[in-house]
Amino acid sequence: MPKPNHHIFADGELSRNEGTLRIDTLDGDTEYLPVESVDSLYLHGQIDFNTRSLGLLNEHNVPLHVFGWKDYYRGSYLPKRGQVSGNTIVEQVRAYDNLERRLQIGHKIIEASIHNMRANLRYYDGRRGNFSSAVNELEELKQTVASTASIDDLRAVEGNARKAYYACFDDILRDPFTLQKREYNPPSNEANAAISFLNSMVYTTSVSAIRKTALDPTVGFVHEPGERRFTLSLDIADIFKPILADRVLFRLVNRQQLSISDFEDELKGSLLTESGRMTVLEAYEKTLDETIEHPRLNRKVSFKTLVQTDVYSLKKHVLTGEPYHATERWW
Protein backbone atom coordinates (compact mmCIF):
# COMPACT_ATOMS: atom_id res chain seq x y z
CA MET A 1 0.00 0.00 0.00
CA PRO A 2 1.38 3.39 -0.89
CA LYS A 3 1.62 5.98 1.84
CA PRO A 4 -0.84 8.88 1.94
CA ASN A 5 -0.06 12.41 0.80
CA HIS A 6 -0.19 15.20 3.33
CA HIS A 7 -1.59 18.65 2.58
CA ILE A 8 -0.95 21.75 4.65
CA PHE A 9 -3.36 24.62 4.15
CA ALA A 10 -2.42 26.85 7.03
CA ASP A 11 -0.06 29.82 6.77
CA GLY A 12 3.01 29.54 8.94
CA GLU A 13 6.35 27.87 9.18
CA LEU A 14 7.68 24.45 8.39
CA SER A 15 10.73 23.37 10.34
CA ARG A 16 12.62 20.33 11.45
CA ASN A 17 12.42 19.03 14.98
CA GLU A 18 15.04 16.27 15.12
CA GLY A 19 13.53 13.52 12.99
CA THR A 20 10.07 15.06 12.71
CA LEU A 21 8.55 17.84 10.68
CA ARG A 22 7.07 20.64 12.70
CA ILE A 23 4.42 23.03 11.44
CA ASP A 24 3.78 26.24 13.38
CA THR A 25 0.74 28.01 12.05
CA LEU A 26 0.11 31.73 12.27
CA ASP A 27 -2.86 31.06 14.57
CA GLY A 28 -0.44 29.66 17.10
CA ASP A 29 -0.99 25.94 16.59
CA THR A 30 1.85 23.48 16.36
CA GLU A 31 1.56 20.22 14.50
CA TYR A 32 4.14 17.43 14.30
CA LEU A 33 4.22 15.30 11.23
CA PRO A 34 6.04 11.95 11.19
CA VAL A 35 7.87 12.30 7.91
CA GLU A 36 8.26 8.57 7.34
CA SER A 37 4.51 8.16 7.00
CA VAL A 38 4.17 10.67 4.16
CA ASP A 39 4.35 9.89 0.46
CA SER A 40 4.36 13.50 -0.79
CA LEU A 41 3.93 16.77 1.08
CA TYR A 42 1.82 19.59 -0.35
CA LEU A 43 1.95 23.19 0.79
CA HIS A 44 -1.10 25.25 -0.08
CA GLY A 45 -0.74 28.17 2.29
CA GLN A 46 1.94 30.79 2.75
CA ILE A 47 4.60 28.72 4.41
CA ASP A 48 8.19 29.54 5.22
CA PHE A 49 10.59 26.68 5.27
CA ASN A 50 14.31 26.28 5.61
CA THR A 51 16.98 23.98 4.27
CA ARG A 52 16.89 21.88 7.41
CA SER A 53 13.28 20.90 6.77
CA LEU A 54 14.10 20.21 3.13
CA GLY A 55 16.99 18.06 4.33
CA LEU A 56 14.64 15.92 6.36
CA LEU A 57 12.29 15.50 3.41
CA ASN A 58 15.29 14.57 1.35
CA GLU A 59 16.42 11.93 3.83
CA HIS A 60 13.02 10.30 3.74
CA ASN A 61 12.55 10.61 0.00
CA VAL A 62 9.50 12.83 0.29
CA PRO A 63 8.79 15.18 -2.63
CA LEU A 64 7.44 18.60 -1.69
CA HIS A 65 4.88 20.21 -4.01
CA VAL A 66 4.16 23.89 -3.56
CA PHE A 67 0.86 25.37 -4.61
CA GLY A 68 0.30 29.08 -4.95
CA TRP A 69 -2.89 31.03 -5.00
CA LYS A 70 -3.45 32.20 -8.53
CA ASP A 71 -1.20 29.82 -10.38
CA TYR A 72 -2.21 26.67 -8.59
CA TYR A 73 1.06 24.83 -9.06
CA ARG A 74 4.27 26.65 -8.22
CA GLY A 75 6.88 23.96 -8.26
CA SER A 76 8.36 20.94 -6.55
CA TYR A 77 11.38 20.20 -4.41
CA LEU A 78 12.38 16.71 -5.26
CA PRO A 79 14.49 14.54 -2.97
CA LYS A 80 17.84 13.56 -4.27
CA ARG A 81 17.48 10.42 -6.32
CA GLY A 82 17.41 7.27 -4.27
CA GLN A 83 17.64 5.43 -7.53
CA VAL A 84 20.69 6.37 -9.44
CA SER A 85 20.88 4.54 -12.66
CA GLY A 86 22.85 6.04 -15.47
CA ASN A 87 21.71 3.12 -17.55
CA THR A 88 18.04 4.05 -17.27
CA ILE A 89 18.62 7.65 -18.25
CA VAL A 90 20.81 6.72 -21.18
CA GLU A 91 18.13 4.33 -22.46
CA GLN A 92 15.41 6.91 -21.87
CA VAL A 93 17.24 9.54 -23.85
CA ARG A 94 17.99 7.01 -26.59
CA ALA A 95 14.30 6.20 -26.86
CA TYR A 96 13.54 9.91 -27.00
CA ASP A 97 16.14 10.57 -29.63
CA ASN A 98 15.02 7.86 -32.00
CA LEU A 99 11.89 9.16 -33.73
CA GLU A 100 10.49 5.71 -34.30
CA ARG A 101 10.84 4.71 -30.67
CA ARG A 102 9.67 8.08 -29.44
CA LEU A 103 6.57 7.85 -31.59
CA GLN A 104 5.92 4.32 -30.48
CA ILE A 105 5.81 5.44 -26.86
CA GLY A 106 3.89 8.61 -27.77
CA HIS A 107 1.26 6.55 -29.58
CA LYS A 108 0.70 4.41 -26.51
CA ILE A 109 0.34 7.47 -24.29
CA ILE A 110 -2.14 9.25 -26.53
CA GLU A 111 -4.11 6.11 -27.31
CA ALA A 112 -4.53 5.52 -23.60
CA SER A 113 -5.41 9.14 -23.01
CA ILE A 114 -8.12 9.07 -25.72
CA HIS A 115 -9.34 5.70 -24.51
CA ASN A 116 -9.79 7.08 -21.01
CA MET A 117 -11.63 10.17 -22.25
CA ARG A 118 -13.90 7.95 -24.25
CA ALA A 119 -14.56 5.71 -21.24
CA ASN A 120 -15.84 8.75 -19.33
CA LEU A 121 -18.15 9.76 -22.14
CA ARG A 122 -19.50 6.24 -22.45
CA TYR A 123 -20.25 6.24 -18.75
CA TYR A 124 -22.34 9.40 -19.02
CA ASP A 125 -23.83 8.61 -22.44
CA GLY A 126 -27.59 8.37 -22.03
CA ARG A 127 -27.40 9.52 -18.42
CA ARG A 128 -26.68 13.15 -18.93
CA GLY A 129 -26.81 13.58 -22.67
CA ASN A 130 -26.27 11.84 -25.93
CA PHE A 131 -22.56 11.45 -26.49
CA SER A 132 -22.57 8.70 -29.08
CA SER A 133 -21.20 10.87 -31.86
CA ALA A 134 -18.38 12.13 -29.62
CA VAL A 135 -17.69 8.56 -28.49
CA ASN A 136 -17.39 7.53 -32.13
CA GLU A 137 -15.23 10.48 -32.98
CA LEU A 138 -12.83 9.60 -30.16
CA GLU A 139 -12.77 6.01 -31.32
CA GLU A 140 -11.85 7.13 -34.84
CA LEU A 141 -9.22 9.52 -33.57
CA LYS A 142 -7.74 6.74 -31.49
CA GLN A 143 -7.49 4.62 -34.64
CA THR A 144 -5.56 7.33 -36.44
CA VAL A 145 -2.98 7.70 -33.66
CA ALA A 146 -0.88 4.75 -34.79
CA SER A 147 -0.42 6.24 -38.25
CA THR A 148 0.84 9.65 -37.12
CA ALA A 149 4.43 9.97 -38.21
CA SER A 150 5.47 13.09 -36.36
CA ILE A 151 5.08 14.38 -32.83
CA ASP A 152 3.25 17.44 -34.14
CA ASP A 153 0.69 15.28 -35.91
CA LEU A 154 0.33 13.16 -32.82
CA ARG A 155 -0.33 16.20 -30.69
CA ALA A 156 -2.81 17.50 -33.24
CA VAL A 157 -4.82 14.27 -32.96
CA GLU A 158 -4.68 14.55 -29.20
CA GLY A 159 -5.83 18.17 -29.41
CA ASN A 160 -8.81 17.21 -31.57
CA ALA A 161 -9.73 14.45 -29.17
CA ARG A 162 -9.62 16.82 -26.24
CA LYS A 163 -11.79 19.30 -28.08
CA ALA A 164 -14.46 16.69 -28.82
CA TYR A 165 -14.24 15.50 -25.24
CA TYR A 166 -14.46 18.88 -23.57
CA ALA A 167 -17.39 19.81 -25.83
CA CYS A 168 -19.43 17.24 -23.90
CA PHE A 169 -18.66 18.71 -20.48
CA ASP A 170 -21.48 21.22 -20.55
CA ASP A 171 -23.96 18.37 -20.78
CA ILE A 172 -22.22 16.21 -18.20
CA LEU A 173 -21.91 18.97 -15.64
CA ARG A 174 -25.04 19.83 -13.77
CA ASP A 175 -26.18 23.46 -14.08
CA PRO A 176 -25.06 26.11 -13.37
CA PHE A 177 -21.58 24.71 -14.18
CA THR A 178 -20.46 25.10 -17.76
CA LEU A 179 -17.12 24.71 -19.38
CA GLN A 180 -17.84 26.34 -22.74
CA LYS A 181 -14.22 26.18 -23.71
CA ARG A 182 -11.15 24.91 -21.95
CA GLU A 183 -9.14 27.94 -20.88
CA TYR A 184 -6.15 28.11 -18.60
CA ASN A 185 -4.28 31.27 -17.64
CA PRO A 186 -6.36 32.38 -15.88
CA PRO A 187 -9.20 29.84 -15.83
CA SER A 188 -12.17 31.71 -17.27
CA ASN A 189 -14.95 30.15 -15.22
CA GLU A 190 -15.64 27.75 -12.37
CA ALA A 191 -15.41 24.51 -14.32
CA ASN A 192 -12.13 25.61 -15.88
CA ALA A 193 -10.79 26.55 -12.47
CA ALA A 194 -11.66 23.17 -11.01
CA ILE A 195 -10.14 21.32 -13.96
CA SER A 196 -6.94 23.34 -13.73
CA PHE A 197 -6.59 22.58 -10.05
CA LEU A 198 -7.31 18.87 -10.46
CA ASN A 199 -4.98 18.61 -13.44
CA SER A 200 -2.17 20.11 -11.42
CA MET A 201 -2.80 17.46 -8.77
CA VAL A 202 -2.59 14.70 -11.38
CA TYR A 203 0.62 16.28 -12.58
CA THR A 204 2.19 16.26 -9.11
CA THR A 205 1.01 12.68 -8.56
CA SER A 206 2.91 11.78 -11.71
CA VAL A 207 5.97 13.76 -10.60
CA SER A 208 6.05 11.79 -7.34
CA ALA A 209 5.62 8.45 -9.12
CA ILE A 210 8.41 9.18 -11.60
CA ARG A 211 10.70 10.21 -8.77
CA LYS A 212 10.42 6.69 -7.36
CA THR A 213 12.09 5.34 -10.48
CA ALA A 214 15.36 6.27 -12.06
CA LEU A 215 13.57 7.84 -15.04
CA ASP A 216 14.32 11.47 -15.71
CA PRO A 217 11.16 13.57 -15.33
CA THR A 218 12.39 16.20 -17.78
CA VAL A 219 12.58 13.88 -20.78
CA GLY A 220 9.07 13.35 -22.07
CA PHE A 221 7.98 11.72 -25.29
CA VAL A 222 4.88 13.59 -26.38
CA HIS A 223 5.79 16.91 -24.83
CA GLU A 224 8.96 18.68 -25.88
CA PRO A 225 11.70 18.90 -23.24
CA GLY A 226 11.96 22.65 -23.75
CA GLU A 227 8.72 23.24 -21.90
CA ARG A 228 8.71 24.78 -18.48
CA ARG A 229 7.53 21.74 -16.60
CA PHE A 230 8.67 18.16 -16.24
CA THR A 231 7.58 16.90 -19.61
CA LEU A 232 7.53 13.21 -18.73
CA SER A 233 5.14 14.07 -15.90
CA LEU A 234 2.95 15.89 -18.39
CA ASP A 235 2.89 12.79 -20.57
CA ILE A 236 1.90 10.50 -17.72
CA ALA A 237 -0.62 13.04 -16.44
CA ASP A 238 -2.37 13.04 -19.84
CA ILE A 239 -3.16 9.36 -19.41
CA PHE A 240 -4.61 9.83 -15.95
CA LYS A 241 -6.45 13.14 -16.18
CA PRO A 242 -9.73 11.58 -17.35
CA ILE A 243 -9.50 8.89 -14.67
CA LEU A 244 -8.34 10.99 -11.75
CA ALA A 245 -9.31 14.60 -12.44
CA ASP A 246 -12.38 14.64 -14.66
CA ARG A 247 -14.27 11.91 -12.87
CA VAL A 248 -13.73 13.67 -9.55
CA LEU A 249 -15.05 16.89 -11.04
CA PHE A 250 -18.14 15.22 -12.51
CA ARG A 251 -18.96 13.53 -9.25
CA LEU A 252 -18.46 16.61 -7.11
CA VAL A 253 -20.55 18.83 -9.35
CA ASN A 254 -23.32 16.35 -10.01
CA ARG A 255 -23.72 15.41 -6.38
CA GLN A 256 -23.71 19.12 -5.61
CA GLN A 257 -20.77 18.79 -3.26
CA LEU A 258 -19.16 21.63 -5.12
CA SER A 259 -21.11 24.79 -5.82
CA ILE A 260 -20.51 28.13 -7.44
CA SER A 261 -19.91 29.62 -4.00
CA ASP A 262 -16.75 27.49 -3.75
CA PHE A 263 -15.17 29.83 -6.28
CA GLU A 264 -14.25 33.45 -6.23
CA ASP A 265 -13.99 35.82 -9.13
CA GLU A 266 -10.66 37.30 -9.90
CA LEU A 267 -9.67 39.72 -12.53
CA LYS A 268 -10.81 38.05 -15.76
CA GLY A 269 -10.93 34.67 -14.12
CA SER A 270 -12.18 32.32 -11.50
CA LEU A 271 -10.44 30.49 -8.66
CA LEU A 272 -11.38 27.86 -6.11
CA THR A 273 -11.74 29.24 -2.60
CA GLU A 274 -9.80 27.57 0.17
CA SER A 275 -12.78 25.52 1.28
CA GLY A 276 -13.49 24.65 -2.35
CA ARG A 277 -9.96 23.39 -2.73
CA MET A 278 -10.29 21.31 0.40
CA THR A 279 -13.46 19.70 -0.92
CA VAL A 280 -11.78 18.92 -4.22
CA LEU A 281 -8.63 17.60 -2.59
CA GLU A 282 -10.51 15.36 -0.24
CA ALA A 283 -12.34 13.78 -3.16
CA TYR A 284 -9.12 13.54 -5.15
CA GLU A 285 -7.19 11.83 -2.35
CA LYS A 286 -10.06 9.43 -1.79
CA THR A 287 -9.98 8.52 -5.44
CA LEU A 288 -6.24 7.86 -5.29
CA ASP A 289 -6.92 5.34 -2.53
CA GLU A 290 -9.74 3.55 -4.32
CA THR A 291 -8.72 0.08 -5.40
CA ILE A 292 -9.46 -2.12 -8.36
CA GLU A 293 -8.49 -5.65 -9.26
CA HIS A 294 -5.54 -5.63 -11.63
CA PRO A 295 -5.72 -8.39 -14.23
CA ARG A 296 -1.99 -8.67 -14.91
CA LEU A 297 -0.80 -8.25 -11.34
CA ASN A 298 -3.49 -10.48 -9.90
CA ARG A 299 -4.09 -8.26 -6.92
CA LYS A 300 -5.99 -5.17 -5.96
CA VAL A 301 -4.19 -1.92 -6.59
CA SER A 302 -5.10 1.64 -5.73
CA PHE A 303 -5.28 4.34 -8.37
CA LYS A 304 -2.15 5.81 -6.89
CA THR A 305 -0.34 2.52 -7.40
CA LEU A 306 -1.73 2.42 -10.91
CA VAL A 307 0.12 5.62 -11.75
CA GLN A 308 3.25 4.06 -10.28
CA THR A 309 2.93 0.83 -12.23
CA ASP A 310 2.34 2.76 -15.44
CA VAL A 311 5.68 4.48 -14.89
CA TYR A 312 7.33 1.12 -14.12
CA SER A 313 5.93 -0.25 -17.33
CA LEU A 314 7.44 2.64 -19.26
CA LYS A 315 10.74 2.12 -17.49
CA LYS A 316 10.70 -1.55 -18.39
CA HIS A 317 9.97 -0.71 -21.99
CA VAL A 318 12.80 1.79 -22.17
CA LEU A 319 15.25 -0.69 -20.66
CA THR A 320 14.24 -3.92 -22.34
CA GLY A 321 12.09 -3.11 -25.35
CA GLU A 322 9.22 -5.15 -23.91
CA PRO A 323 5.84 -3.52 -24.57
CA TYR A 324 4.78 -0.48 -22.60
CA HIS A 325 1.22 -0.74 -21.36
CA ALA A 326 -0.08 2.77 -20.90
CA THR A 327 -3.01 2.48 -18.54
CA GLU A 328 -6.30 2.15 -20.39
CA ARG A 329 -9.33 1.93 -18.22
CA TRP A 330 -10.52 -1.70 -18.13
CA TRP A 331 -12.90 -1.61 -15.21
Binding site: T88, Q308, H325
Partner: protein, 155 residues
Amino acid sequence: MVQYYHVCRRELWFMSRGIDIDRQTTNIQRGTHVDKTSYSDSRQSFMIGNRIQLDVLDSGDVMEVKVSSTLETPARMQLLFYLWFLQEIYGIEKDGVLAYPTERKRESVELTSETTERVESTVAGILGVVSQDEPPQLEKKPYCESCLYQDLCWM
Protein backbone atom coordinates in the same frame (compact mmCIF):
# COMPACT_ATOMS: atom_id res chain seq x y z
CA MET B 1 23.81 -13.89 -8.39
CA VAL B 2 23.79 -17.65 -7.87
CA GLN B 3 20.53 -17.57 -5.99
CA TYR B 4 18.89 -15.31 -8.52
CA TYR B 5 19.98 -17.61 -11.29
CA HIS B 6 18.11 -20.46 -9.68
CA VAL B 7 15.10 -18.45 -8.58
CA CYS B 8 14.52 -16.44 -11.73
CA ARG B 9 16.90 -15.60 -14.55
CA ARG B 10 14.99 -12.47 -15.36
CA GLU B 11 15.59 -11.22 -11.87
CA LEU B 12 19.27 -12.02 -12.31
CA TRP B 13 19.34 -9.97 -15.50
CA PHE B 14 17.63 -7.01 -13.81
CA MET B 15 20.09 -7.17 -10.91
CA SER B 16 23.06 -7.32 -13.23
CA ARG B 17 21.90 -4.09 -14.89
CA GLY B 18 21.37 -2.33 -11.61
CA ILE B 19 17.66 -2.06 -12.39
CA ASP B 20 15.85 -1.39 -9.21
CA ILE B 21 12.39 -0.63 -8.07
CA ASP B 22 11.15 0.82 -4.81
CA ARG B 23 12.74 -1.36 -2.13
CA GLN B 24 10.19 -1.44 0.58
CA THR B 25 8.70 -4.86 0.26
CA THR B 26 8.11 -6.84 3.40
CA ASN B 27 9.79 -9.94 2.04
CA ILE B 28 13.15 -8.31 1.83
CA GLN B 29 12.85 -6.92 5.31
CA ARG B 30 11.80 -10.29 6.67
CA GLY B 31 14.80 -12.01 5.15
CA THR B 32 17.24 -9.59 6.68
CA HIS B 33 15.56 -9.83 10.01
CA VAL B 34 15.76 -13.59 10.30
CA ASP B 35 19.34 -13.55 9.20
CA LYS B 36 20.40 -11.11 11.87
CA THR B 37 18.43 -12.34 14.82
CA SER B 38 18.07 -16.07 14.86
CA TYR B 39 21.49 -17.24 15.95
CA SER B 40 22.73 -18.48 19.18
CA ASP B 41 25.61 -20.25 17.41
CA SER B 42 28.90 -18.58 17.60
CA ARG B 43 29.81 -17.71 14.08
CA GLN B 44 32.06 -15.26 12.39
CA SER B 45 31.59 -13.40 9.18
CA PHE B 46 34.37 -13.12 6.63
CA MET B 47 34.49 -10.99 3.59
CA ILE B 48 36.19 -12.47 0.59
CA GLY B 49 37.34 -10.23 -2.20
CA ASN B 50 34.96 -7.50 -1.07
CA ARG B 51 31.99 -9.27 -2.57
CA ILE B 52 31.30 -12.47 -0.81
CA GLN B 53 30.39 -12.63 2.82
CA LEU B 54 30.74 -15.97 4.52
CA ASP B 55 29.46 -17.06 7.87
CA VAL B 56 31.74 -19.66 9.37
CA LEU B 57 30.72 -21.66 12.40
CA ASP B 58 33.02 -22.72 15.24
CA SER B 59 33.03 -26.19 13.71
CA GLY B 60 34.58 -24.70 10.58
CA ASP B 61 31.54 -25.28 8.40
CA VAL B 62 30.25 -22.52 6.19
CA MET B 63 26.67 -21.64 6.93
CA GLU B 64 23.87 -20.31 4.73
CA VAL B 65 20.58 -19.25 6.30
CA LYS B 66 17.17 -19.56 4.75
CA VAL B 67 13.91 -18.03 5.87
CA SER B 68 12.02 -21.12 4.80
CA SER B 69 12.73 -24.26 2.84
CA THR B 70 10.61 -23.18 -0.13
CA LEU B 71 13.58 -21.83 -2.04
CA GLU B 72 15.80 -24.72 -1.20
CA THR B 73 17.65 -25.24 -4.45
CA PRO B 74 18.77 -21.60 -4.76
CA ALA B 75 20.08 -21.56 -1.20
CA ARG B 76 21.85 -24.85 -1.63
CA MET B 77 23.45 -23.67 -4.85
CA GLN B 78 24.57 -20.46 -3.21
CA LEU B 79 26.28 -22.39 -0.48
CA LEU B 80 27.84 -24.83 -2.93
CA PHE B 81 29.13 -21.85 -4.86
CA TYR B 82 30.88 -20.50 -1.76
CA LEU B 83 32.45 -23.86 -1.10
CA TRP B 84 33.54 -24.16 -4.70
CA PHE B 85 34.91 -20.63 -4.68
CA LEU B 86 36.96 -21.28 -1.54
CA GLN B 87 38.38 -24.42 -3.06
CA GLU B 88 39.08 -23.04 -6.53
CA ILE B 89 40.47 -19.67 -5.61
CA TYR B 90 41.99 -20.21 -2.19
CA GLY B 91 42.49 -23.96 -2.11
CA ILE B 92 40.50 -24.23 1.11
CA GLU B 93 38.25 -27.25 1.53
CA LYS B 94 35.15 -26.75 3.61
CA ASP B 95 31.79 -28.33 4.19
CA GLY B 96 28.60 -26.38 4.53
CA VAL B 97 25.46 -26.22 6.62
CA LEU B 98 22.13 -25.05 5.32
CA ALA B 99 20.09 -23.70 8.23
CA TYR B 100 16.40 -22.96 8.47
CA PRO B 101 16.10 -21.26 11.84
CA THR B 102 12.35 -20.74 11.69
CA GLU B 103 11.90 -24.45 11.06
CA ARG B 104 14.71 -25.54 13.40
CA LYS B 105 16.24 -27.58 10.65
CA ARG B 106 19.78 -28.04 9.38
CA GLU B 107 21.29 -29.93 6.50
CA SER B 108 24.87 -30.53 5.53
CA VAL B 109 26.09 -29.74 2.06
CA GLU B 110 29.24 -31.06 0.45
CA LEU B 111 31.20 -30.50 -2.67
CA THR B 112 31.28 -33.74 -4.67
CA SER B 113 32.06 -34.27 -8.31
CA GLU B 114 28.38 -34.09 -9.08
CA THR B 115 27.75 -30.88 -7.11
CA THR B 116 30.93 -29.33 -8.48
CA GLU B 117 29.59 -29.86 -11.95
CA ARG B 118 26.33 -28.19 -11.00
CA VAL B 119 28.18 -25.16 -9.65
CA GLU B 120 30.26 -24.87 -12.77
CA SER B 121 27.30 -25.06 -15.08
CA THR B 122 25.56 -22.45 -12.90
CA VAL B 123 28.47 -20.07 -13.28
CA ALA B 124 28.49 -20.57 -17.04
CA GLY B 125 24.72 -20.07 -17.09
CA ILE B 126 24.98 -16.81 -15.14
CA LEU B 127 27.52 -15.45 -17.57
CA GLY B 128 25.20 -16.38 -20.41
CA VAL B 129 22.22 -14.58 -18.89
CA VAL B 130 23.99 -11.38 -17.95
CA SER B 131 25.63 -11.03 -21.32
CA GLN B 132 22.29 -11.00 -23.16
CA ASP B 133 20.98 -7.67 -24.40
CA GLU B 134 17.46 -8.45 -23.37
CA PRO B 135 16.08 -10.03 -20.22
CA PRO B 136 14.97 -13.66 -20.46
CA GLN B 137 11.34 -14.03 -21.46
CA LEU B 138 8.65 -13.44 -18.93
CA GLU B 139 7.11 -16.55 -17.46
CA LYS B 140 4.79 -16.88 -14.53
CA LYS B 141 6.46 -18.38 -11.46
CA PRO B 142 5.04 -18.93 -8.01
CA TYR B 143 7.82 -16.69 -6.77
CA CYS B 144 6.53 -13.73 -8.80
CA GLU B 145 3.89 -13.05 -6.15
CA SER B 146 6.52 -12.04 -3.64
CA CYS B 147 9.16 -10.77 -6.06
CA LEU B 148 10.53 -7.27 -5.88
CA TYR B 149 10.23 -6.92 -9.63
CA GLN B 150 6.61 -7.95 -9.86
CA ASP B 151 5.36 -4.50 -10.79
CA LEU B 152 8.07 -4.13 -13.39
CA CYS B 153 7.66 -7.52 -15.00
CA TRP B 154 3.91 -7.75 -15.20
CA MET B 155 3.12 -4.19 -16.19
